[in-house]
């Protein structure tokens, strides 16, 4: 097996037995030294108030420069600075053609017809409950080739470069602008070419949306990628669709894999930001824990179940066949939800001072009414590889999974972060294609530093979980798309102390993790194997003269205070829930057969977006059994709703999954003891209908058919949403068919 892989990649350097980076030589480092650059902190998109009325001066999307390039950077900035126009519509806007129709005509073929919005037209992909949740705020961006940041969003940063640690003279101040930041992973590395990295605005730092529960958002996403698909520096598709991972969003705004759109178009995503249970729980909005900060020290109460409050999300591409390539190439952003319970403001009406206060006061800062990021830091971790010219590389022919040899944090190579000697919240996202991580936090001398996990998959848990604990010394395995929010207290360290995140999880090939390497072997240099095992980030403790007013997570451990309890379930739910079974497998049972998902013991099936494999009724409790054979691991992601893990291999899940609401479920091989061959998830779908998917989030597996479509239907609904088929001219529909539902019995064994 290993011999075969080496032969498969003859022109490449390999450590024996490790196909890393997958099918390519090691990434050159151009003489860069580690811990010589600060980590890039996320740049906020910045929400704007929804405009009203028409705009007489608004200009259309600037033209592509050629078949192989988008608009110039300055032209794109000028356009994105302009207000939202045309106004969004309930059904897709097909009143005018693709902005680039003449260019497409010259580069592809003349278009007899086209639409400015790529959303499938008509009622099927109209915004659900549009008037009820009409957007109160919007942001717009373009998926664009790498370019220098001209400071477009400086004025939209909530901190304004004048508040807290972002102000002049404080920790993060670097001139008060992102102007001049290019797309490169280290100052010693080459700048990425426009077609090597495709990302939001085309610029670094990576982008963050700060949003509030109950404030509906309109996200207009322009596609300004090259019209010619060959202009991609070796990987990536120029058609895109954007999925807000675990958003409680209607299907037409979920980023369905088959609802992609083309260069020269936009797609309006409508994110209502409602608490699940809105239609049935707290319908008079009387619960003060269900709400959002109002910007002036108060809470605007909203309907719904406060126990469904969400915190750390991300959104990313979900293009059929190309998710791995496009996400790897830069189509990923993070999104923080702020709420009455998770306000991003410490020291203000804290729950720890009075149990009737909603605000948990997780570490953040206190300068703004909500969304302080001084001590609340998003960290996107992903392995990458680049070629001899330093340009991002991806192996499009590997389908076991692609591994990079270098780990980037927020797109920076081995960066440091200055931290105050106080508590911090880190929102950690595994944004890789096929690599899970297991992170130890250690001092320079290799001593483990304790910390608490407070949120799993972006949802605050019932109790904080202390690490090290009986089940895990370090941060447990985090799979692709999983998020762990942790709280670290740096106050115990003298200024000048340096600490490190160390990755311990070894891969040899992209199928799944191999083993956990002992920390001592990694730190001593005895371990030589997977080049992504080792230190990935440094923390430098700086003096703190403020007062840390954040909650002490130790107070919220099991037996102590509760953070967010999980939603109530009927006492007999285990007996009455509707059961389904999904096996992530290969259709023929051997490794050489194609990836498939087997539903309810039926035939293993590859992806066909025309096929509805499950059609759960809204409002009904269901138990989904997810399982997989050995030799592989699949982080399974179910769209639209998080669930709770009832059992792993029939036993209680580990500590950090017990009080958690999850949207990614690791099944299959389990070398770390943190996954399992099978698990049961309790889940329920509410408020919105439509076409969603469930898939393996090893995106190489997802792109090779480990993805199925399921539709949320209203009780009694007999009409299947037809299957959209997008083309340059517009989106057409084809019939949908259902899998046989006869094997789909309630309480099936």
């Amino acid at each position: 097996m290993i011999g075969a892989l080496l032969v498969a990649a003859p022109a490449f350097a390999q450590t024996s037995g490790f196909d890393i980076p997958t099918g390519a030589p090691r990434s050159p480092l151009f003489g860069a030294r580690e811990w010589t650059q600060p980590v890039l902190l996320f740049e906020e998109f910045g929400l704007q108030a929804m405009p009203t009325g028409s705009c007489l001066t608004c200009q259309p999307l600037p033209q592509a420069q050629s078949c192989t390039a988008g608009p110039t950077g300055p032209a794109l900035d000028t356009f994105l600075r302009q207000r939202l126009w045309p106004m969004p519509t309930e059904a897709a806007n097909t009143t005018r053609g693709n902005y680039w129709a003449p260019r497409v005509g010259a580069c592809v073929r003349p278009l007899a017809t086209s639409a400015v919005e790529g959303r499938p037209p008509g009622v099927w992909f109209s915004h659900q409950r549009w008037n009820e949740f009409y957007p109160q705020a919007y942001f717009q961006t373009a998926m664009a080739g790498a370019r220098v940041n001209n400071g477009l969003r400086d004025r939209w940063q909530r901190h304004g470069y004048t508040r807290g640690e972002f102000a002049n003279g404080q920790l993060y101040y670097r001139g008060g602008t992102t102007r001049g930041i290019g797309v490169r992973f280290h100052p010693s590395f080459p700048i990425q070419q426009p077609n090597s990295v495709w990302t939001f605005d085309g610029t670094m730092p990576p982008k963050l949306l700060q949003a509030r529960i109950g404030e509906p958002i309109l996200f207009r996403h322009f596609n300004t990628l090259p019209v010619d698909p060959s202009a991609n520096n070796g990987f990536g598709a120029h058609t895109i669709t954007t999925h807000e991972h675990n958003g409680h969003n209607p299907a037409e705004s979920d980023g369905f894999a088959g609802a992609f759109f083309f260069p020269g178009q936009f797609y309006d995503y409508h994110w209502p930001m409602q608490l699940a249970g809105r239609d049935s729980i707290n319908t008079d909005a009387s619960d003060p824990r269900a709400g959002r900060p109002d910007g002036a020290g108060g809470v605007t109460q909203v309907r719904g179940d406060w126990r469904e409050t969400m915190s750390t999300h991300w959104f990313h591409d979900h293009m059929l066949d190309y998710t791995a390539q496009n996400v790897y190439k830069g189509n990923a952003a993070m999104m923080n939800y702020y709420s009455a319970v998770d306000r991003g403001r410490e020291g203000f009406q804290c729950n720890y001072t009075n149990a009737s206060n909603a605000n948990l006061c997780l570490p953040s800062g206190s300068d703004l009414d909500w969304g302080n990021r001084d001590y609340d830091v998003n960290l996107l971790i992903a392995d990458k590889a680049w070629n001899s010219a330093g340009q991002l590389f991806f192996n499009i022919f590997n389908t076991d999974g692609f591994l990079g040899d270098q780990v980037l944090v927020n797109w920076t190579w081995r960066p440091y972060l200055d931290v105050r000697a106080r508590r911090y919240r880190f929102r950690i996202l595994d944004g890789a294609v096929s690599r899970n991580f297991q992170l130890a936090l250690v001092t320079g001398s290799g001593v483990r530093v304790p910390f608490h996990m407070v949120a799993n998959d972006g949802n605050i848990m019932e109790h904080a979980v202390r690490f090290p604990n009986a089940q895990s010394q370090d941060l447990p395995e985090i799979a692709i798309a999983e998020r762990y929010d942790i709280v670290v207290d740096f106050s115990r360290f003298a200024p000048g102390t340096r600490l490190y995140f160390v990755n311990l999880l070894e891969f040899t090939i992209g199928r799944g993790p191999k083993r956990t390497i002992p920390l001592a072997d990694v730190l001593s240099g005895r371990y030589r194997g997977d080049p992504a095992v080792g230190k990935i980030m440094e923390f430098r403790v700086m003096p703190y003269d403020g007062v840390d007013q954040s909650m002490n997570p130790a107070d919220y451990e099991e037996g102590g205070r509760v953070m967010i309890p999980r939603p109530e379930v009927p006492a007999d739910v285990l007996q009455t829930a509707y059961r389904r079974d999904f096996e992530f497998t290969r259709s023929g049972g051997t490794d050489e057969e194609p990836w498939t998902i087997r539903t309810n013991g039926g035939n293993g099936l590859p992806t066909d977006l025309h096929r509805v494999s499950a059609a759960p009724e809204t409002g009904r409790w269901e138990i989904w059994r997810l399982h997989s054979g050995g030799g592989w691991q699949h982080p399974v992601h179910i769209h639209f709703e998080e669930g709770r893990i009832l059992t792993r291999d029939g036993l209680a899940p580990p500590l950090w999954e017990r009080g958690a609401r999850k949207d990614v479920f690791r099944v299959g091989d389990n070398p770390t003891g943190h996954a399992s061959g099978e698990l049961e998830v309790l889940i329920r779908f509410r408020e919105f209908l439509g076409t969603f998917v469930e898939h393996c989030h090893n995106t190489q597996h997802e792109d090779n058919s480990m993805l199925l479509r399921w539709d949320a239907r209203a009780p009694g609904q007999v009409v299947a949403i037809p299957t959209p088929v997008p083309e340059w001219e517009g989106v057409y529909y084809e019939p949908t068919y259902d899998l046989p539902q006869d094997g789909d019995d309630p309480n099936r064994p």
């Binding site: 080496l6 030589p25 698909p229 194609p594 498939t596 299947a720 529909y733 084809e734 949908t736 068919y737």
Partner: protein, 315 residues
């Protein structure tokens, strides 16, 4: 190329870690430097170089089979035959289909020609054979785990579809809907410059939940690549009326284990074999319940046809 490869393997084995020359600039990543230009032999005995003659500048589909395969592979070829029919005369013109034998010892050009006749393969679809080492190398470079003549049954049934000029490559399986494969080849790989398959459905027609029966599902995924109901013969007979012309028990067994019935020289089976170019119906490992579900479905179709309505056998 191969010699160099063998040498590299030896070096890798000896040293553990090796460095090689940097690869070509990014734009050339998936071009001449990546694909081996090995010489293959087509079903007419012509020699073709893989990169220069077979894929360079073209939209192609490539899959690997062996002609003596009796399990699921016949379904693969039948599915691709459907793809070829859907794409019509574009195959050979701007879309090129290639099937490469994994069993070069047995699959001579003559054997490949006979196989093509059995499956009624049309022009524009080339069958190829080559040295065992070259075929293994091609499998690897196309992202497949290679098999050789000793483990043929584990071969990867993927279909690799690509546009060499635009460096786009997509892997799908033969179990997929032939129309989807045709759309990929004829549409997406041409930058959506044209539709691969059928005409577009009207918006209004698309909304009904289709037949949810297990029989319909099995028919669509297991039978439809070779059979129609009332639309004429494909590789196998038109099945309209089959529930009346055949004894149900015979039909059920024929669906379950056609290979055994042929081996037992069942007269009806042999007659069918002779009539359909000696292409045996494959054993698709269906169980009793599945075979019954298909027979039920066929019976319903016949009943509805005689009463004047029939479910659409669309996608």
């Amino acid at each position: 190329m191969l010699k160099r490869l063998r040498m590299l393997v030896a070096i890798v084995a000896a040293m553990g870690t090796v460095w090689f020359a940097p690869q070509a600039p990014a734009q050339e990543q998936w071009g001449r430097d990546y694909f081996p230009n090995v010489v293959l032999r087509d079903h007419n005995g012509r020699e073709l170089r893989f990169y220069d003659d077979i894929i360079r500048g073209k939209v192609v589909s490539i899959n690997f089979i062996y002609t003596t395969c009796t399990e699921l592979c016949p379904l693969d070829t039948a599915q691709l035959r459907r793809v070829q029919q859907v794409l019509g005369d574009r195959v050979g013109r701007d879309i090129h289909m290639y099937t490469i034998s994994l069993n070069p010892t047995r699959d001579t050009p003559e054997q490949l020609r006979q196989f093509m006749r059995t499956y009624d393969v049309g022009p524009g679809w080339t069958f190829l054979t080559g040295s065992a080492a070259d075929v293994q190398l091609l499998q690897r470079r196309l992202g497949l785990r290679p098999v050789d003549e000793t483990n043929l049954r584990e071969h990867d049934a993927s279909i690799i579809m690509g546009n060499e000029r635009t460096h786009q490559w997509i892997r799908r399986t033969a179990y997929e809907n032939p129309n989807l494969l045709a759309d990929l080849l004829g549409g997406r790989l041409f930058n959506y410059a044209g539709r691969g398959s059928q005409t577009r459905q009207t918006y209004a027609a698309a909304g009904e939940v289709t037949d949810r029966s297990h029989g319909y599902y099995l028919f669509r995924t297991r039978c439809q690549s070779c059979h129609t109901i009332g639309e004429g013969d494909r590789l196998g007979p038109d099945l309209a009326g089959v529930s009346r012309t055949r004894d149900p028990a015979w039909l059920t067994r024929w669906i379950r284990e056609p290979d055994r019935m042929i081996a037992e020289r069942d007269p009806t089976a042999l007659a069918l074999l002779a009539r359909y170019r000696n292409l045996p119906m494959p054993n698709l490992s269906l169980n009793d319940a599945e075979a019954n579900a298909i027979v039920d479905y066929l019976g319903r179709q016949d009943a509805e046809a005689s009463s004047g309505r029939r479910e659409g056998a669309g996608r």
